[in-house]
């Protein structure tokens, strides 16, 4: 670690780890509720567990992105963070707001939470992924603005690199597109239309810029490959991301009341969306193959390589699987969507945050890498999480295909719940894979907190 102020990232990473574990716990509960509908009812109903599972994912990834930014921006800019105190203050604001929101979901009926938090004044609640009370959304805006001010001032007053410029573009985009969560028109078509401006333009737009810049930073540091080479790749990847991803939003506009031209625009541009993920894989493979040194943190390099591969599979291949409008006509909102969602989020965003954590946390402790034993444990966590996520995806894909066939394609379509019963075997297998994933999460966290073997640790050069 080159600058003292980079250490504020540790707080964010710790919170991210805790919330990640919580997200997976709720995923396990949720998976069980698919096959045992009354499990934990009425304490934690399905809709609440689902809301907590998805909201925790978003919140911990945001903590991860912020932690990554606070770590890499000072190093890239060649100066201390503009205001470490503001970063710490915003951490607590965000953590308390996030915790209160999750507790609200769990202990207050949703309609009561809406009433309690004054949703009537500016109604924004009740939409998937954007369930947060309006006051929480306002808190997110405050935290995001303070965060952008802090990292923005650091970048503006320091050295400008392609990594920080791409990262800042992504972060500004993240904040700007979140503002559409405050637009909640009565017209359901308009509502859905702009809802995707938050959801799609986040995960298939600006978040990809954040992903690419974090990955580029870690690869520059761990491989010793020339910055110029990596920066050229970065430019091409983000160009392709924006060219395909922005109009690719159209793949959400099939049959929701929008003009029919979206069937063509959405199909063509979103069919091109795997390209930036394919290039990300090519970029990571090429950079690691041309590495000029063997970095002692082998786990971080493994995570970086895994990110590129799993993002390509989850976001690229599994996205393409159901993105063309004639296919999506049948598959829309089925378990195929869930399969894609799980692997894409894991491959693209979960893994890149785990990559930067794996790389940065030892450095913040004054080590280049963890002890060999803890690295082996971390690599076990990598394989357990990654392989189980592959199986979760395959089981959900199987469930989705069967669901589509029986419920939507067959000459004698069957009712939703009848079909759910018929695909329950896949849900059980998914649950088993989810438990293995949880073991991976626990090992990942333990690898940071169990005692390190001093003799194997490499001290960070001064």
């Amino acid at each position: 670690m080159q600058y003292q102020s980079q250490s504020v990232a540790k707080l964010y990473f710790l919170a991210a780890m805790g919330l990640f574990a919580g997200q997976i716990l709720f995923g396990i509960i949720l998976g069980l509720q698919y096959v045992m509908g009354d499990f934990l009812f009425p304490e934690i109903p399905f809709n609440v567990a689902r809301m907590v599972h998805t909201n925790l994912l978003i919140v911990w990834l945001l903590f991860g992105f912020m932690g990554a930014s606070y770590y890499l921006v000072p190093e890239e800019s060649g100066r201390e963070l503009y205001s470490p105190k503001l970063a710490v203050l915003m951490f607590w604001v965000f953590l308390v707001a996030g915790a209160l929101t999750i507790l609200g979901y769990l202990f207050v009926p949703y309609s009561g939470l809406a009433q309690m938090t004054g949703n009537g004044i500016l109604p924004t609640m009740g939409r998937e992924f954007l369930e947060q009370p309006t006051i929480t959304k306002l808190g997110i805006v405050v935290v995001a603005l303070a965060f952008l001010y802090n990292v923005g001032m650091t970048v503006l007053t320091g050295r400008k690199t392609v990594v920080t410029i791409v990262l800042m573009t992504g972060l500004v985009g993240l904040a700007v597109f979140f503002l559409f969560s405050f637009y909640n028109p009565d017209n359901l078509v308009k509502d859905k239309y702009f809802w995707w401006w938050v959801v799609h333009l986040w995960v298939e737009g600006v978040w990809e810029l954040i992903l690419a810049s974090i990955l580029a930073f870690v690869l520059i540091k761990t491989t010793g490959v020339d910055r110029e080479v990596i920066e050229k790749w970065l430019y091409i990847i983000i160009a392709m991301t924006l060219i395909t991803g922005i109009i690719g939003t159209g793949h959400h506009y099939y049959w929701i009341g929008t003009p029919s031209y979206w069937q063509w625009w959405g199909s063509i541009f979103s069919a091109l969306e795997p390209i930036p993920f394919f290039m990300l894989t090519l970029f990571a493979f090429n950079t690691i193959n041309k590495r000029k040194r063997e970095h002692p943190n082998k786990a971080a390099v493994l995570w970086a390589m895994g990110t590129a591969v799993m993002a390509f599979l989850g976001a690229g291949v599994w996205g393409f699987l159901h993105t063309l409008s004639p296919v999506n006509y049948y598959t829309h909102g089925s378990q195929i969507t869930a399969a894609h969602g799980h692997m894409a989020f894991y491959g693209a965003y979960v893994m890149v945050v785990l990559t930067i954590m794996s790389y940065a946390i030892p450095l913040m402790r004054g080590q280049q890498a963890k002890s060999n034993r803890m690295q082996v444990m971390e690599m076990w966590s990598f394989w357990l999480m990654t392989v189980s996520m592959v199986f979760i995806t395959l089981f959900l894909t199987g469930a989705g295909i069967l669901q589509v066939y029986l419920q939507r394609y067959s000459d004698a379509p069957q009712a939703f719940m009848v079909v759910q019963e018929k695909i329950s075997l896949f849900y059980w297998m998914r649950e088993a894979a989810g438990l293995v994933f949880l073991v991976g999460v626990v090992l990942f966290i333990l690898s940071f907190f169990l005692p390190q073997e001093e003799k194997n640790m490499q001290a960070q050069p001064a």
């Binding site: 894989t281 090519l282 493979f285 090429n286 041309k290 894909t397 199987g398 029986l406």
Partner: protein, 121 residues
């Protein structure tokens, strides 16, 4: 000396072309890119990196053809087009295995770019 260096460069370029053809055959240009691979084989040196990657590309694509076309064909023959389970197996299997072949071809491509064999140093 200059001639040798030039020759090595040419071999590396042909190796890169072969790896690219292999990747294209698995993705955008199935069949056509395989012909390109076969044509590349004629121009290759006796025992150079270009021949290695051309032969690797041919082998990878032939194995892929069996794994993807023959195996899925057998699945369809066994299960019948009218069975939901046939499509569960075929689509899931085809998507996953096809992706793995593409990833293998991408790795081969970056190794060819660097003038290296597939195996890690």
């Amino acid at each position: 000396m200059t001639q040798l260096h030039h020759s090595a460069g040419e071999q590396q370029q042909r190796a890169s072309h072969a790896a690219l053809a292999s990747l294209l055959n698995l993705t955008l240009l199935p069949g056509f890119a395989f012909i390109w691979l076969l044509l590349n084989l004629k121009k290759c040196s006796q025992d150079g990196i270009d021949r290695y990657h051309t032969v690797l590309g041919l082998k990878l694509n032939l194995i892929a053809a069996v794994a993807l076309l023959v195996v899925t064909g057998l699945m369809i023959l066994a299960g019948g087009l009218g069975s939901a389970w046939t499509w569960v197996y075929v689509i899931t299997y085809f998507t996953m295995v096809h992706s793995l072949f593409i990833l293998a071809a991408v790795w081969a491509l970056v190794r060819a770019w660097a003038g290296q064999k597939l195996t890690v140093r």
